[in-house]
């Protein structure tokens, strides 16, 4: 029993590592190792999403809020409300969105605690910060 528990934990870490920075365009694995997330996760593993979504609005060439703090495993979504495209890139993970036309959005999930910096590759004057905190 004890051995099975250790194996399960190990698998959990591997899962987290492998799925780190999964983008919304890919099917994200259900967070099976995290009990409190399971409670609110989509019951269908094929469409399961991270527990919580935090939105960042792009408007007037500005990210708002420009700095957010979110718990680990939060899905962060950028929504472009400008009349011109923007393209988000997270520097630390090299995660890059497509060019987001007006009304388009992009999301990615942060599975590792830390401070992440992102900017618009088309208009690099636009930048923001995401602080991902460890689960309590």
């Amino acid at each position: 029993m004890k051995k099975r528990f250790i194996l399960a934990i190990t698998f959990g870490i591997l899962t987290v590592n492998c799925s780190a920075y999964a983008q919304s365009s890919q099917a994200e694995p259900a967070p099976t190792q995290n009990i409190h997330m399971m409670m609110v996760a989509d019951s269908n593993p094929d469409t399961a999403k991270a527990v919580k979504t935090s939105n960042i609005t792009i408007s007037n060439f500005t990210f708002a809020p420009v700095k957010i703090s979110v718990p680990v495993r939060t899905k962060v979504a950028w929504i472009n409300k400008d009349d011109t495209p923007h393209r988000v890139m997270v520097i630390e993970t090299k995660t890059k969105s497509a060019a987001l036309d007006s009304g388009a959005s992009f999301s990615t999930t942060f599975d590792q605690p830390g401070t992440y910096h992102y900017f618009c590759t088309m208009h690099p004057i636009m930048k923001g910060t995401i602080v991902v905190t460890a689960a309590k």
Binding site: D82, T121, P124
Partner: protein, 309 residues
Amino acid sequence: MDLEVSRRKVMECMAWGPGVVWALVAGIPTAFSMDTLDGRSGAAATVSSFSFAQISDSHIGFDKAANPNSSGTFRDGLAILKNSVAKPSFLIHTGDITHLSKAEQFDTAAQMVQESGFETHYVPGEHDMVDENNGKLYMDRYGKGTKGAGWYSFNDQGVHFIGLVNVVDLKAGGMGNLGQAQLDWLKNDLSVLSASTPIVVFAHIPLWTVYKQWGWGTQDSGEALSYLKRFGSVTVLNGHIHQVLQKVEGNVSFHTARATGFAQPAPGTAPAPGPMVVAAGQLKDYLGVTTVSVTPNQPRLLINDATLA
């Protein structure tokens, strides 16, 4: 004092343009090639009188309130140039050909340019490099014979033209970016030219800082401009800001062109740059094309901006 250097300096100050200096030799006016005099080879040939045109920021595919028909206004811009009295020898498109780097947007632009009959030289804008392969569609079309991300130079009728790319590998918090590889190439490209060779540099984002708060400038342009200081005639043509602004600094004339795609606000007059909706019926007052005339012995090229109105 080094007599040779001194003479070269004097000659460079005396004459611009055709690569020819007239001097009295035994009482007879005689033409000397500047290229011969300053010992550099590979310089441009004698300058002709001719004109070329700049068209910019067509943003094919843009259909928002600021201009629901960007294809139509691009066609209008090309028609103005085609029907002008002094028909330009060729066109320079200073980027943002498309709005979203889509194949069909490149196709539409290429078809319209082909219909106009103009030979056209391109540099990309940031909107042309956002396909999923980070600029492959642009490079497949316009990258042949270029270096790096699409920079190149060519000579035409005695003028040396340089197309620079300052829209790739942009750094967080920064503005336009040329990068060390392109700067090294530029330095080498210029090194063989006589100081009397007229230079036209074109790139999408302005090579001078128009408005840092909106990223309207190129962070390492100072280095590029330092290579151009010894030349008697330098003209820098940019787009990106969708409005006419000019500045003269020493022998360098900076000029930005209107777009054919949509208007943008003047620096600092709006919360942000981006498409600006103008009063009904006035859009064509804000859009336009540019003609540049080259005249031998005139270091300042004549730049004429025409609206689509």
